[in-house]
C-alpha cells in the first residue's frame, strides 16, 4: 500500500469520525514510547548519581580534595594530585586543540574548494578521525612523544597531546557546524561590499559562530577531562604525591585515580572512589552547564 493511498484513507477516517488523529491509540502509544526513550537516560543518570553519592557520602570532607593519595591511611586518602592534574591537562589540551581546530574548520568551510581532491581527502579523513577510538590516540601520543625525543610520556605534555588529538575532530566538526549555520546571505552581503573572504570570515561569520564554537569546545574539553583510556596508554600514573609544576611534570588525573582505586577491593578506597566520582561529575557538570548557558544565551536563530 503506497503512502498516498494510506494517507488518503486516514483523511477519510478522520473526516468521518471527526476526531483528531493525534489522539488515536497508535499515536498515543508512539508518543508514550518516545517519552520513555527520552527519560530512560535521565533515570539512569539519576540512579547513577544517587547510588554513587550514597556510597561516597562518608568521604565528603576537605581531605578528599586537599590530600594526596595514601595507601597507608585509606580513610583519609585524597585526590589533590588528580584534580590539579586534570585541570592542567584541560588547559594544555585547549591550548593545543582549540586554535588548530578552529583554523582547520574555517579553512574547510570558508576557503576550501570542495571539488579539489585534497580537500575531499581532508573531509573523508576527518569523518574517520572522529570515530577513531580514544585509546588509539593514546598509542599515537606515545609515538609523537617518542618522535620528539621524550622517553617518558606520562607527563603533562604527553597527556595533553593525547587529549588534544582526541578532541581535535570534535572541535573541527562543531566549529564547522556553527560556521555553516551562519546564513549564506550574510557572507554574500559582505563580499558584495568588497570585503575579502578573510574579512568576511573574521568580521561576520566567526562572531556569529562564536557561541556555537564555544559550546562545542567546552563540551569537547569536558569529554577530555573525564577520559582515562588514552591516559592509561600514555602511561600516566594512578597516583602521584606532588603538584604539577610544568609541562614536563609527571602527573596523574582524576579519572586515572578513580580507575586505579576501582580495582582495589578495600572498602575505604571504594568509598573514596565514589566520592571522587562526584567531584569529577561536578567538574564536568559545571563545564556542561557553562556550555548550555552560552548556547541558550547567545545562540542566534536566523
Amino acid at each position: 500500500m503506497s503512502v498516498a493511498t494510506s494517507t488518503a484513507r486516514e483523511v477519510t477516517r478522520t473526516v468521518s469520525t471527526g476526531r483528531s488523529k493525534d489522539k488515536s491509540l497508535g499515536s498515543l502509544v508512539f508518543l508514550g514510547a518516545l517519552w520513555f526513550s527520552l527519560f530512560f537516560g535521565v533515570m539512569v543518570l539519576l540512579v547513577l548519581i544517587v547510588d554513587t553519592a550514597i556510597e561516597g557520602s562518608p568521604r565528603f570532607d576537605s581531605a578528599l580534595i586537599t590530600e594526596y593519595g595514601s595507601r597507608v591511611r585509606p580513610e583519609s586518602t585524597g585526590f589533590r594530585a588528580g584534580i590539579l592534574g586534570s585541570l592542567w591537562l584541560m588547559v594544555f589540551t585547549a591550548l593545543f586543540a582549540v586554535p588548530l581546530g578552529i583554523a582547520a574548520a574555517l579553512y574547510l568551510e570558508e576557503f576550501a574548494d570542495g571539488d579539489r581532491w585534497w580537500n575531499r581527502l581532508i573531509e573523508l579523513n576527518l569523518q574517520n578521525l572522529a570515530a577513531v577510538p580514544a585509546i588509539v590516540y593514546g598509542l599515537l601520543a606515545v609515538a609523537v612523544m617518542a618522535l620528539m625525543g621524550f622517553g617518558r610520556s606520562g607527563i603533562v605534555l604527553g597527556g595533553a597531546i593525547a587529549l588534544a588529538l582526541l578532541i581535535l575532530p570534535v572541535i573541527i566538526i562543531t566549529t564547522r557546524e556553527a560556521v555553516r549555520s551562519v546564513p549564506q546571505e550574510i557572507r554574500q552581503g559582505s563580499l558584495a561590499l568588497g570585503a575579502t573572504v578573510w574579512q568576511t570570515t573574521w568580521r561576520q561569520t566567526l562572531p556569529s559562530a562564536v557561541p556555537g564554537i564555544a559550546t562545542g569546545t567546552i563540551l569537547g574539553l569536558s569529554r577530555a577531562i573525564g577520559e582515562a583510556a588514552p591516559l592509561i596508554v600514555v602511561g600516566l600514573a594512578g597516583s602521584v604525591r606532588f603538584d604539577p609544576t610544568g609541562v614536563m611534570s609527571e602527573i596523574t588525573a582524576l579519572p586515572m585515580m578513580i580507575y586505579s582505586l576501582t580495582s582495589n577491593s578495600q572498602e575505604e578506597f571504594r568509598t573514596a572512589a565514589s566520592a571522587a566520582i562526584i567531584v569529577l561529575l561536578i567538574m564536568i557538570l559545571g563545564l556542561n552547564a557553562l556550555a548550555i548557558y552560552i548556547r541558550n544565551k547567545f545562540q542566534k536563530t536566523w
Binding site: 488515536s24 537516560g41 547510588d51 572522529a130 599515537l140 573525564g226 583510556a229 580507575y259 576501582t262
Partner: protein
Amino acid sequence: MSTISSTGAGPPFGAGLPAAPDLRKKARPLETVIRTILMVSAFLSVAITVGIIFALIRPVIDFFAEVPFGDFFATEGTHAVLPLVGGTLMTTVIALLVAVPLGLGAAMYLSEYASRRARRVLKPTVELLAGVPSVVYGFFALSFVTPTLLQDILSLEVGFTNALSAGLVLGVMVIPTVASLSEDALTAVPQSMRQGSMAMGANRMQTTLRVVLPAALSGVAAAVVLGMSRAVGETMIVTLASGNLKNLSADPREDMQTMTGFIATTAGGENAVGSTSYNELFAVGMLLFLLTLVINVISIALVRRFRQVY
C-alpha cells in the same frame, strides 16, 4: 573623489571623466598568510591519520616477526585475537540494542513533539549522558548494574564482571550520540515538508515516520554508525565491567575481554618496550583502528547512497 558627488545640475562625471577605476589585483599578504595557516591546520588532520598508522606499524611488524599470523587470528592461544573481537562484538551489539531505539525515540520526540522551550531544557539533559566519563559508567556497572539490577532484581547468574552488564551500560552511554545526531538530522528537514504532509491530513506520528524520518535517513544512519564505532572503541566500561578473560562465547552472562579492554589492561601493566606483549598491544590497536575505519567507510558509503535517493 567619489562617484556619489555628481549633482543633477553639474555634469555627472563631466568632461573630466575620471580614469576608469583601477581593478588590478592587489597584493593581500595578510589574506595569503592566513589562508596558508588555515590550510596547514586542516592538513594536519591528515598528518594525524598518517601518524597513527606509522605509530602502530613498527611494533606490529615486530610482533608478526615473532608470532605467526595464524596464532594471532586464532580462536584460542596466548596471542589469539578472535576472542577479543568476539567480546567487542558482543558488548557492541548489546549496546546498540539499547541505544538505537532509545536514542532515535528521544530524537523524534525532541524534534517533532517538544516545544521550543522544552527542547531547550531536554536536549542538554540527554546530552549530559554523553558527558559522564566512561570510568564512571564502568564503576556504575560494577557497583550497581551487576549486583543490584542483574543479580538481585533479574536474578541472573552472573559474576562480578560480565559482558551483559558492560554492554547495557555501554548502550546508555551511546544513547546521546545516536539521539543528538539524529535530532540534528530530523530538525534539518525543512518545515515545508512537514506542512505538506500535515496539509494532506497526516497526523504527527505519520508525518514523523513517513516524511521526516525518511528525509533525514542519511543523518540518522550516520548517527547509528557513529554510535556503533563509539561502542567498539569505548574502553573504560569494558575494561572495568566486562572482565579480563579472553573468551569466545555467545553467552553474554560470561566474562569477555574486548580489544580495548586488552589494550588498557596490557598498557597499564609492566611491559618492557619491544617485548612481545608490548608489541601485541599495537597489533590489537591496529586491528581496532582498521575495524573502526571499515565501519566508518561503510557509513560514509551508506550516507552517500541515501543522499542520492533524496
